[in-house]
């Protein structure tokens, strides 16, 4: 397995482009007794026979022990099973709702996939509502499907939300920066004033604070975080906290 790791090693933390190939001498891998150990290629990498192809431009990242992925910037969301997104209900048709999640195709959401919903007891979902939900079917050949419950049937915060507040779009890279554990942006932001935020993996962010003005401030700050260094951000946030903006 060292053969595999060594072929990634010199590119780690560097920019790679679609079409780059990581191939390792199969014989070397075969000889080693640790063949059972597997390489996991995350988003941006694709398996092609015995080699790994890069299919997104970005920076090659590694997580111990054997996970590699490409940290890329993009705005178009591609559904992935298990990811939680913010969707907008666009149509009600019989048993399912059509939900726009910002991907190439609208996702479907069954009316039974809400907490406590039964055939007799339908959830109150209107066209235009926001739903926080996760994908249970997402592949390139099928229509994506959403649910608002986990495997135990509990909502865990999913479902219709957002009576008021503000929904806006940011890049997928910023969303991931917000969702990273101990995110610095979130840490800086929560010092300013109390607010609530829902972050979907599809690049949609919904915020709500006590007043419309505060909601707009948070939204604008998040928007401006897209292209700022940590230092710039901290000075900006400090000025906002002091009330000079």
């Amino acid at each position: 397995m060292d053969a595999v790791h060594s072929c990634f090693k010199d590119k780690l933390g560097q920019a790679v482009l679609p079409g780059d190939v990581f191939s390792f001498a199969v014989s070397a891998v075969e000889d080693s007794a640790v063949r059972a150990e597997k390489v996991i290629c995350g988003p941006g990498l694709r398996r092609n026979g015995d080699e790994i192809l890069v299919c997104k431009s970005g920076i090659l990242r590694h997580k111990a022990p054997n996970l590699y992925w490409i940290d890329s910037q993009q705005k178009r969301y591609v559904p992935v099973k298990g990811e939680s997104v913010i969707g907008i209900v666009t149509a009600k048709s019989g048993d399912i709702f059509k939900v726009d999640v910002g991907s190439s195709e609208q996702a479907s959401l069954s009316y039974l996939a809400f907490e406590g919903a039964t055939k007799r007891n339908r959830p109150n979902v209107q066209v235009g509502d926001l739903v926080y939900s996760q994908f249970i079917i997402a592949n390139k050949d099928m229509e994506p499907e959403l649910v608002c419950i986990d495997s135990c049937g509990r909502a865990n915060g999913m479902g219709v939300f957002g009576a008021d507040g503000l929904l806006f779009k940011v890049s997928l890279g910023l969303v991931r920066r917000l969702l990273v554990p101990q995110s610095e942006i979130v840490k800086d932001l929560e010092k300013i004033f109390p607010f609530e935020m829902v972050v979907g993996m599809n690049g949609r962010v919904w915020v709500k604070a006590k007043t419309v003005q505060q909601t707009l401030i948070v939204a604008n700050l998040l928007d401006s975080c897209e292209n700022m260094t940590a230092q710039q951000r901290q000075t900006l946030f400090k000025r906002v906290a002091e009330g000079s903006l």
Binding site: V39, I40, P43
Partner: protein
């Protein structure tokens, strides 16, 4: 057919029930075999060289969540939405600590009622149950003795007993 000099019956005709009696063993066997072949012909199979499944040591993962350990997407700060803050704690338990937490949960299951509350409740419960099972006469004495800190029941009146009349 005409060359043979004898007329040959069609196979389908020979297969019919009333024709079976007159058939000799060899023809019967032949027919049976043919029938078997027809049945097996109707089963589909792929006419392909056998694919050898190579052991795959590369696994694809399409989500960023396991890569970057992304957290739960709903957040609330400074008590704006207490429900969401509870959920955040619940959903963002670090994976390594999950097991320990489970054990902890067993010991502190009902944290909505504090130990003090529980003790107070039980104290009054014991009192009311005692009162319930006490007889009418004892009840008044119980009330009298309530003030006793040590709960040593000192009957205020001597217990009435049957006095045998003297002759």
């Amino acid at each position: 057919m005409a060359n043979d000099g004898s007329t040959k019956l069609s196979k389908n005709l020979l297969r019919m029930k009333f024709m079976q009696r007159g058939l000799d063993a060899e023809v019967k066997k032949q027919l049976e075999e043919e029938e078997k072949r027809i049945i097996s012909d109707e089963h589909w199979y792929l006419d392909l060289p056998e694919l050898k499944a190579k052991e795959c040591y590369i696994v694809e993962e399409r989500s960023y969540i396991p890569c970057e350990d992304l957290v739960y997407g709903r957040m609330s700060f400074k008590g704006f939405n207490p429900d969401v803050e509870k959920l955040m704690v619940l959903m963002n338990v670090p994976k390594e600590r999950e097991k320990d937490e489970e054990e902890d949960d067993m010991t502190r299951m009902d944290t909505d009622i504090t130990d003090e509350d529980m003790a107070r409740r039980y104290g009054s419960l014991v009192e009311s149950m005692k009162r319930r099972f006490a007889k009418k006469r004892e009840r008044s004495s119980l009330q009298d003795s309530l003030e006793d800190v040590n709960r040593n029941v000192v009957p205020s009146q001597p217990k009435k007993t049957f006095l045998k009349p003297k002759d």
